[in-house]
């Protein structure tokens, strides 16, 4: 069977109609990361899966964005295949329409077309036809999707599927079951006959009871052995994972440390940036930034009122010939309020005979000294006024609100807000925050890069981060489990062997006893039935072993071809009841539990090639193999060896890879002409996204497909 053509229409990044025409040998689909290689592989997966139906998630986002009201378009994956000289078209498709602003999905079809002799084509059920042309059991071993799905036997039914598909062993189980039943029926019949002789019957019953007891014991050890084998396998796999992930784990630890530090820095920076500007208007009194003119206006008003009040008061006092001392200032200037300076200050000035306001001497008897004496007297009189009765004299201004205004003015000028500085304070804070935000943006960009790097590393890992980081702490534990499990398995194996020998002996004793009472033909029939049962069971076991040996041999031929001049070990397929596992062993037969990445990939691919050979031998037909990024962990020389090996196989292989591609000027992806020329190939396609595109908008992505000659 050969794949002749793949046709994609509005499938994921393949906007519009795209076509790949394949040759019989090696077909390369070259593209950098993210350009559409995996989507190409997923097109095969979608077509081959009988459960996958119409799904809006596989529709080209760009096409979906372009859709107009009442418009309909098709999403299609179609394959043209050739089988025994006849061409078939298999296609899966559905329609997407926009009606009343609502996206609808309809008309899903999975059909194949069969060519009739008269040239007409008849549509038939696609799933059924696909199963005939390219059976699912073969497909399972024909498609390889990167490192993440390496272990092709990681499936409970893997061994059974392999046998059902490729081996004659599948015919034996019904015969074994039948002979088992015949043998046990005959045993029961013999037991009934033996019961007629009481003595022998008693002895046989005792032996039978012992056989059953020992059989139960055997069953127990068998179960314990299986548990120990499972433990061993689990521990071996875990150790293998640890080794494979060791470097990755170290890198993640370093990156986590850097991410934590960056996050701490970002958090500290965020704390520094306080943009509660609305709150600052009140709490930091920024709202007064333009208040100066109003304050000055207030001061002037108070001064004017005080002047007027003083003038009227003097006039009034003269009129009523008030006895109190009133001070006259030069040029009839408005005196300071009576409470400035206060009593203690005035007394100090008088004592020191010095005016400490103008720093001039004021000796006793001088005009200045007399002025200060009068000012002190006025202060004392004013304070004493409160004790006088209102009837002592009539006041022009019984209220004194102005005095409190003046106190308020003094308080604000001495302990108030520095209004002139507020504008600078606001500007400084805004500038500070602007600089910190720039720092924050830079830190966040750096953090994004670290996270991107971490995601890139984790994307290549098959285990979750927590598991990855905790792996190393468990090395000792796993090593201990491996050692203990191996010891236990050996112990149980010896016990089971010993019980088996004992059971054989008991059975023989029982049969000898029965022979004393049973006719000779019955004993002979019993022996024949037992032999028939053994023949079926042993033949099945032998065929199974031969089949596995054959697959192992073929796999080993391939691994040495994939890893020319390199260490490979040998592939060992280990069967444990109904499961099969693949591992590498050293020349001394010890398992290599920690094969490095490329060796492990080589191992699984060698098995796949081995299965492909088996498929050819058993079905007399070659099937294509489809790979997605098979060589991502190979180094340069091995990459070329790998492709040349596939070329030499003369099998149809379709391989999506980023090998032989480079980034020109760090921006433009292109084919590396120097390396691609050294590789033997039959057909090459180049895929890449149309540029420019918006990296945050999927609907700007379209992959173009070009044959590379």
């Amino acid at each position: 069977m050969k794949i002749k053509k793949l046709f994609l229409e509005n499938f994921l990044c393949y906007y519009g109609r795209k076509e790949f025409v394949f040759e019989d040998g090696i077909n390369l689909i070259l593209g950098r990361n993210g350009e559409g290689k995996t989507k190409f592989f997923e097109a095969f997966e979608w077509l081959f899966s009988s459960s996958e139906k119409a799904d809006i998630n596989i529709v080209s986002a760009k096409r979906l964005k372009d859709i107009k009201e009442n418009e309909t378009f098709t999403v299609r994956v179609a394959l043209t295949v050739e089988k025994f000289g006849e061409n078939f078209l298999i296609e899966k498709c559905f329609e997407v329409s926009l009606k009343k602003s609502q996206i609808n999905i309809e008309n899903f079809r999975f059909i194949a077309y069969e060519n009739k002799l008269d040239g007409s084509r008849i549509p038939i059920d696609g799933d059924k036809k696909l199963e005939i042309i390219f059976p699912a059991k073969i497909r399972r071993y024909s498609m390889f999707k990167g490192e993440a799905e390496l272990n092709i036997f990681n499936n409970e039914n893997a061994l059974k599927e392999l046998i059902d598909t490729f081996s004659e062993v599948k015919h034996y189980p019904p015969y074994i079951n039948l002979s088992d039943k015949l043998y046990s029926w005959f045993q029961e019949a013999m037991d009934k006959t033996s019961r007629s002789n009481e003595k022998i019957n008693r002895e046989v019953n005792i032996i039978q009871a012992e056989i059953e007891r020992r059989a139960l014991e055997r069953h127990k050890y068998d179960r314990l052995k299986k548990e120990a084998e499972q433990e061993l396998e689990k521990a071996s796999n875990s150790l293998s994972q640890i080794e494979k992930n060791s470097e990755r784990c170290e890198m993640i630890k370093v990156l986590n440390d850097r991410i934590r530090k960056k996050t701490d820095e970002i958090n500290s920076m965020k704390v520094c940036i306080d943009e509660s500007y609305t709150t600052f208007l009140l709490d930091e009194k920024w709202i007064l930034y333009d208040f100066q003119p109003y304050y000055e206006s207030f001061c002037n008003k108070i001064l004017e009122v005080r002047k007027s009040k003083n003038f009227e008061e003097k006039k009034h006092n003269k009129e009523i010939a008030k006895k109190e001392v009133k001070l006259e200032l030069l040029n009839e200037a408005t005196p300071l309020p009576w409470f400035i300076p206060d009593e203690s200050t005035l007394k100090e000035l008088l004592k020191d005979e010095l005016c400490k306001v103008c720093n001039r001497p004021a000796p006793k008897g001088s005009e200045a000294y007399s002025f200060m004496e009068s000012k002190l007297k006025e202060y004392i009189d004013r304070t004493n006024q409160k004790n006088k009765t209102e009837n002592d004299y009539e006041l022009l201004f019984p209220n004194n609100y102005i005095e409190n205004f003046q106190k308020l003015q003094i308080e604000l000028s001495t302990n108030g807000i520095n209004i002139e500085n507020l504008k600078n304070e606001i500007a400084e804070r805004l500038e500070f925050n602007r600089c910190r935000k720039e720092d924050l943006k830079r830190l966040e960009e750096e953090l994004d890069k670290e996270i991107e790097e971490k995601n890139r590393i984790m994307a290549e890992s098959t285990v979750h981060e927590d598991e990855l980081l905790s792996m190393h702490s468990n090395i000792r534990e796993w090593t201990l489990i491996i050692s203990e499990s191996s010891r236990s398995i050996e112990d149980y194996r010896r016990k089971i062997e010993s019980i088996d020998a004992e059971l054989n002996e008991k059975n023989e004793t029982k049969n000898r006893k029965l022979a004393q009472v049973l006719p000779g033909y019955q004993m002979e029939t019993n022996r024949i039935l037992k032999d028939i049962n053994s023949v079926f069971t042993n033949t099945k076991e032998r065929l199974l072993s031969e089949f596995i040996d054959l697959l192992e041999e073929k796999s080993n031929q391939f691994i040495s071809r994939i890893n020319v001049d390199d260490f490979t070990g040998r592939i060992r397929l280990r069967r444990s009841k109904d499961k099969i596992s693949v591992l590498l062993i050293n020349a001394d037969e010890t398992p290599i539990y920690k094969p490095h990445g490329s060796l492990e990939i080589s191992m699984y691919m060698a098995v796949l090639f081995g299965i492909s050979e088996l498929a050819f031998e058993t079905k007399e037909e070659n099937y294509p193999m489809i790979f997605d990024a098979p060589t991502s962990s190979f180094d340069g020389a091995k990459v070329q060896d790998f492709y040349n090996l596939i070329y030499d196989l003369k099998k149809q292989c379709i391989i999506a890879t980023k090998d032989f591609t480079i980034m020109k000027d760090d921006r433009t992806p292109c084919v590396d002409e120097d390396t691609i020329e050294k590789v033997k190939r039959d057909k090459t396609y180049w895929i890449c996204r149309i540029r420019p595109f918006n990296k945050e908008d999927l609907s700007t992505i379209e992959t173009i497909v070009e044959p590379y000659e």
Binding site: T278, I287, G416, I426
Partner: protein, 166 residues
């Protein structure tokens, strides 16, 4: 008492126009401290002070058409943030508002000193000046909000608005 400042700040809470209750007070202030959202102003009176200064700096006085005072904080409690986390006391702003009102209100202080006019009438005049400036300020905020709905929902919105209103 002879202290006009005390008389003014311990009088009733000032009125504001009812029409601003929904469109400004509840939009930008945690009106009645019931909102689940974080508002630009923690209390309604904070927005009132802001509006007063906007009106003052723009010389925008507008009489109130329909009075509302349901937010209820007397002026003497404005800015008392003692015990409040992440806030600072700004009760000193009471004094600056008073200074502005004395400066901008036409009152015969000599008559007050003589006892010819009552302190209550002076307090009433100061209060009216305050209400008119705050009302004028609210009107300017409303106009800006109608012009650009997102303007005040940025950290710098209210700051920029008052800085540009010089």
């Amino acid at each position: 008492m002879n202290d006009l400042f005390e008389a003014w700040r311990s009088a009733r809470p000032p009125y504001y126009d009812l029409k601003y209750k929904e469109i400004l007070m509840k939009e930008f202030a945690d009106y009645g401290a019931r909102s689940k959202d974080i508002k630009a102003f923690e209390t309604a009176y904070e927005l009132y002070i802001y509006a007063f200064f906007v009106g003052l700096y723009n010389n925008e006085k507008k009489p109130i058409s329909k009075k509302e005072n349901s937010y209820g904080h007397k002026i003497e409690f404005w800015g008392n943030k003692a015990g409040k986390k992440f806030r600072k006391d700004f009760s000193i702003l009471q004094k600056y508002i008073f200074v502005a009102l004395v400066s901008k209100t036409d009152v015969d202080f000599l008559a007050l000193e003589k006892g010819d006019i009552s302190i209550d009438s002076v307090v009433s005049s100061l209060m009216e000046t305050m209400e008119q400036y705050a009302n004028g300020g609210m009107n300017l905020i409303r106009e800006k909000f109608e012009d650009n709905e997102s303007f005040f929902f940025t950290p710098t919105g209210f700051l920029n608005f008052i800085l540009k209103s010089e």
